[in-house]
């Protein structure tokens, strides 16, 4: 039999993903954006808190150095948009991590033990699914103040349900594999098997859900900040900036437009990447 050169599943996915122009462009854009968010504020002569009394609510212009103009307090909008994007992206990453840790462990435990444990654990997920979570996050914010760590945690804690379901399904399949059986025969503990043999093999599918969870999380955070329940001054996020911009747009439309465009681009790109990854992982899906 002629030997067929086989590609690892990871490589195949990568090749299919590369063929998806929208996803590749989005990845490039997000990469560029992250670099900008990290380094651009240093390149600007202004910082996000100083008031430029010469240019209050100034239009965007190249000559004054206020690339995106300034807000009604005379703060440089370019730097503030960068700082806001940085916070939004950071929350996206950290809260997604929180939801991953909860979701993976929960799903893996439910799937691994199966039977009654599985039934009860997944029933709880079903119940939680029906809850209006956005309202509960707002409740948390009202009762416990607007602490940034609470925001991280609360948003992460509501987004783990999807991941738990997916991980459980995968675990059901993985635990039938012979290497899991071998580990069990060797006398490995349940905990060891879950952490060493099951979780690492879940990571492929989890990557897809990371890219789909990040935009959701950014959206929740901006939603809260927009309502004035999220990030507080002097820190800012894209949602808070859009909210300020919406109040000033009648006279200074740029204060709305720049943060709105940045937020939309971030969400747009992550959605395209997630879609592309999902298609790449499941080639049978209707295109």
């Amino acid at each position: 039999m002629a030997e067929v050169k086989s590609l690892s599943p990871g490589k195949q996915i990568w090749i299919r993903l590369k063929a998806n122009r929208a996803a590749v462009t989005s990845m490039g854009l997000i990469g560029l954006l992250i670099l900008m968010v990290l380094f651009a504020p240093w390149l600007s002569p202004f910082n996000g808190e100083d008031i430029d009394y010469e240019a209050i609510a100034a239009e965007p212009s190249l000559t004054s150095g206020h690339l995106f103009g300034t807000d009604s307090l005379g703060r440089d909008l370019f730097v503030r948009t960068m700082e806001g994007s940085r916070i939004s992206l950071a929350i996206g990453l950290v809260a997604t991590l929180v939801s991953l840790i909860i979701g993976i462990n929960y799903g893996a435990i439910a799937g691994y033990f199966g039977g009654r444990v599985d039934a009860v654990m997944m029933r709880i997920v079903d119940i939680l699914y029906a809850m209006p979570f956005m309202f509960f996050v707002i409740l948390l914010m009202v009762f416990f103040g607007r602490n940034i760590f609470l925001i991280f945690f609360a948003i992460g804690a509501i987004n783990w349900l999807d991941i738990a379901r997916i991980v459980r399904g995968q675990t059901l399949a993985i635990k039938q594999q012979s290497y899991v059986e071998a580990a069990r025969i060797y006398g490995a503990s349940h905990w060891h098997i879950i952490q060493r043999h099951i979780v690492p093999n879940l990571l492929g599918i989890v990557v897809v859900y990371i890219t789909l969870t990040i935009p959701q999380v950014i959206l929740v955070e901006s939603f809260l900040s927009f309502l004035g329940l999220g990030i507080q001054e002097p820190m800012t996020s894209l949602g808070a900036l859009v909210s300020e911009g919406a109040n000033e747009m009648e006279s200074y439309s740029w204060t709305l437009i720049f943060p709105a465009v940045f937020l939309s681009i971030i969400l747009f790109c992550f959605n395209f990447i997630g879609d592309g990854l999902r298609d790449a992982l499941d080639p049978k899906q209707v295109k």
């Binding site: 707002i138 009762f143 747009m249």
Partner: protein, 311 residues
């Protein structure tokens, strides 16, 4: 069918119970009590107040009272609007929100499924790509970004629609809020119905219909429509939740006196009872609507109907 209904209804009870339980404990954990005044009260008065509101009894008894009040539709007095009970505020705001939500839902179902079905019928055409790109935009641009941009375009630059206000529900005041609420749902429904239509069009019974020489329009409407809409129906649950969450922002931006606006105002003013009342109310409302959607689905999809009969 009836048995299925009751089984689902029983399934909804624990969820509702948990919502009430969580909100009860949140309000107890919240810093500051209702009788924390600047001046300290005489101990007798404090004790009387505690007795009147059952604060001197064990937690589970208090929870019992709370549960009983809520089941009777009594969410207590509002902290902020001193002359109103939370129930009265909900009764004021809810009808407005329902009107907006229903219109947005109807618009989303009509436009979304029409666009999706046409896109699927002309798969890979320019129209198809156009629908898919625009729908990605609709999904990605959050409604609190969309709303100010729509106001900027239609109210400020071209000024042919009011920028906000309710004006007793005048038609032109409704257009922008309804469109804002409907856009993301139009986008989702278009994508879902496109995907499902593509699958339906490939199935044997459609091929048979075509080979019999039936007219295309007849096949699309009589054969393909119903199975295509099944996934759309099952998306209605998330869509309802999305529209309710969206209404919070939309009512705030457009200044509409609906329940969502009361909720945000309550949240900003730390009006505990109002916020909790709305959460419990919307929680139960969403669960009941989900139940109705499930029943509708069961009625439309014979496979589920059979399953329900078997068990």
């Amino acid at each position: 069918m009836l048995e299925y209904f009751f089984r689902r209804l029983l399934g909804a009870i624990p969820t509702i119970f948990i919502i009430i339980l969580v909100s009860f404990f949140l309000i107890r954990l919240a810093p500051g009590g209702p009788f924390d005044f600047d001046k300290t009260l005489a101990p007798e008065i404090q004790a009387n107040l505690n007795t009147k509101f059952h604060l001197d009894e064990p937690v589970y008894v208090q929870f019992g009272y709370y549960l009983k009040d809520i089941l009777q539709g009594d969410f207590g007095p509002s902290f902020q609007y001193k002359n109103y009970t939370v129930t009265e505020l909900i009764a004021q705001g809810f009808p407005v929100s329902v009107q907006l939500g229903l219109s947005a839902m109807a618009l989303a179902l009509l436009l979304g499924s029409a666009a999706g079905i046409l896109a699927a019928y002309r798969q890979n055409s320019k129209f198809d790509y156009g629908v898919m790109t625009i729908s990605m935009l609709g999904i990605s641009v959050p409604n609190f970004v969309m709303a100010p941009i729509l106001i900027l375009i239609f109210a400020i630059v071209f000024s042919f629609l009011p920028a906000g206000g309710w004006n007793d529900g005048a038609f032109q005041n409704r257009i922008l809020p309804i469109v804002t609420l409907a856009l993301p749902q139009i986008a989702y429904i278009a994508r879902i119905s496109r995907g499902s239509m593509i699958e339906v069009l490939r199935s044997p019974f459609i091929r048979t219909a075509f080979s019999k020489g039936l007219p295309t329009f007849y096949i699309l409407t009589r054969h393909a429509l119903k199975p295509t809409l099944l996934p759309v129906i099952s998306y209605m649950g998330p869509a309802i939740a999305g529209i309710i969450t969206g209404s919070v922002v939309v009512e705030q931006i457009y200044g509409i006196p609906g329940l969502g606006r009361y909720f945000v105002q309550g949240a900003l003013n730390r009006d505990y009872t109002l916020v909790m009342g709305v959460v419990v109310f919307y929680g139960v409302f969403i669960i009941l609507l989900n139940l109705i959607v499930d029943l509708l689905y069961g009625w439309l999809d014979p496979q589920i109907r059979l399953q329900a009969r078997k068990t």
